[in-house]
């Protein structure tokens, strides 16, 4: 029963939602809408589950003084500060997202610059990695190197200043070879996704039960 019931639920729900996608009329459409609302509610609760697991994990790490426990302290302080400011903003300003709320201040003054800084560092790492890895070792690597160079220059104004043909060739690369490869990848990916979905719905793929 432990296996059969979940498999039956998966089969019925999967078939129902696939059919309802193409036939969105009553009663299937209503049922699908109900399932979607349920999903949205369950998805909301997964955040609580995630938070519970995160807090427990870091509390244990601090308790046992495992390597890097200081970072866990910083994480928990940040977490509870955000939570308290969020609730405070909610009670005082009706919404944590009110532009005057301290939660919004925390977001724009701490979270936003931290996230932006982390991503901005990528420019340096990409430049260094491109210098080290982008080598014309064979024909395929050379073709990639030349086309990447053309696109990099053709997509920015300086490319046109160097040679007016660069943006034209860059557009051609994006519209034909790039698009053909992308379409092939997309078709392959989605055929794989359909196959995997069918395997799950039909109960052939059961790893999600373990």
């Amino acid at each position: 029963m432990k296996r059969e019931v979940p498999l039956a639920i998966t089969f019925i729900t999967g078939v129902l939602l696939v059919v309802a996608f193409f036939v969105p009329h009553p009663p299937l459409g209503d049922l699908q809408q109900r399932f979607q609302i349920w999903y949205s509610i369950v998805a909301g609760f997964t955040f609580l589950l995630g938070l519970d697991s995160l807090v427990k994990h870091h509390l244990k790490k601090i308790q046992h003084r495992r390597s890097g426990w200081g970072f866990s302290v910083a994480l928990l302080i940040s977490f509870f500060t955000t939570l308290i400011l969020g609730f405070y903003s909610w009670f005082v300003f009706s919404s944590p997202y009110d532009l005057r709320a301290p939660f919004q201040w925390l977001y724009t003054s701490v979270i936003l610059p931290l996230q932006a800084t982390m991503f901005a560092l990528l420019a340096f790492f990409i430049a260094s990695a491109a210098y080290r890895a982008f080598r014309a070792r064979n024909l395929a690597a050379s073709l990639l190197l030349v086309s990447a160079g053309i696109v990099m220059l053709g997509r920015v104004p300086i490319g046109k200043a160097i040679w007016s043909g660069l943006p034209v060739i860059s557009d051609w690369i994006m519209n034909y070879p790039q698009m053909a490869a992308k379409r092939g990848i997309l078709m392959g990916t989605y055929l794989g996704a359909i196959a995997m979905s069918l395997r799950i719905i039909l109960g052939m793929e059961r790893t999600y039960l373990t």
Binding site: Y39, Y131, R155
Partner: protein, 270 residues
């Protein structure tokens, strides 16, 4: 010499990149912007095809990491939409992105004399991605019974007659991931909705096949796309001013790649 070319100290690379990015941002040189076909089409749809008062749904599907690329285009498109007298529904699938762009929404709305609840509304965030998109196709209130401040949707004048995608004339997504593809696959195909996207430079190639097949009206790709849209609306801002920095950074990276390859070829010959 060969060693020097082949194994350049990474600190030199970091220093050069830092200078070529910082210098144009301080000095503000302006470069001519060539507007691409995909941006022109997005612009023309908002400009010519939508009658004043049309409802545009804007989805914020990015966070601070992609802010420098996507906020300039969001600002440009929003300015254009408000200028044409369109109504804007603001929502998003990335929880951390919504408060980020909300500042810009409020600032532009205030500058252009727009009123909350009449000219624009902020629905906020709901978890669920595809399920939220699909459920909105039947009745928006099933997912968004209130706006981001908890004000009931039914008490917002602009939303009085808006129940699902039938009352929405255009969807514009600002995408840093694959949410744009979900919009196309689940909303564009099923509800036959017109849409276009502003994306990071990395995500843009993923959406080119949909643009070529006509499933999306236009595509604003990366900071360059933002600069192009700003040029189209005649309002140069962060996109246009960021182009020299991006140009010089691309050029510097290419020069480093060439140096690396010269060193590599010379070493192999030896």
């Amino acid at each position: 010499m060969i060693e020097l070319l082949d194994k350049l100290d990474r600190r030199i690379i970091y220093l050069v990149i830092g200078i070529v990015v910082a210098y144009p941002l301080i000095v503000h040189p302006v470069m001519p912007i060539r507007v691409s076909e995909e941006v022109k089409r997005a612009y023309e749809f908002v400009e010519d095809s939508l009658p004043s008062g049309s409802v545009i749904l804007i989805s914020i599907d990015y966070d601070a990491a992609s802010e420098p690329e996507l906020t300039p285009m969001f600002r440009a498109v929003l300015t254009h939409a408000f200028r044409k007298g369109h109504k804007v529904i603001y929502m998003g699938h990335w929880a951390l992105g919504l408060p980020l762009a909300q500042k810009d929404l409020e600032e532009i709305a205030h500058r252009m004399g727009k009123t909350y609840g009449v000219d624009y509304v902020n629905l906020g965030y709901r978890p669920g991605f595809v399920t939220v998109m699909l459920a909105m196709g039947r009745e928006l209130r099933d997912i968004y019974s209130s706006d981001y401040q908890g004000i009931p949707i039914d008490s917002i004048p602009m939303m009085a007659n808006i129940h699902n995608y039938d009352q929405i004339d255009l969807i514009i997504g600002f995408e840093a991931g694959s949410t744009g593809e979900f919009w196309i696959q689940y909303v564009g195909s099923r509800f036959n909705k017109r849409m276009f996207f502003g994306t990071t430079g990395v995500v843009a190639p993923d959406l080119y096949p949909y643009y070529a097949s006509g499933q999306i009206l236009g595509l604003i790709g990366g900071l360059k796309g933002a600069a192009e849209y700003e040029t189209q609306i005649g309002h140069p801002a962060r996109g246009v001013f960021g182009m020299p920095a991006q140009s010089f950074a691309h050029l510097a990276i290419l020069i480093f790649i060439v140096i690396g390859n010269i060193g590599y070829i010379l070493r192999r010959r030896r």
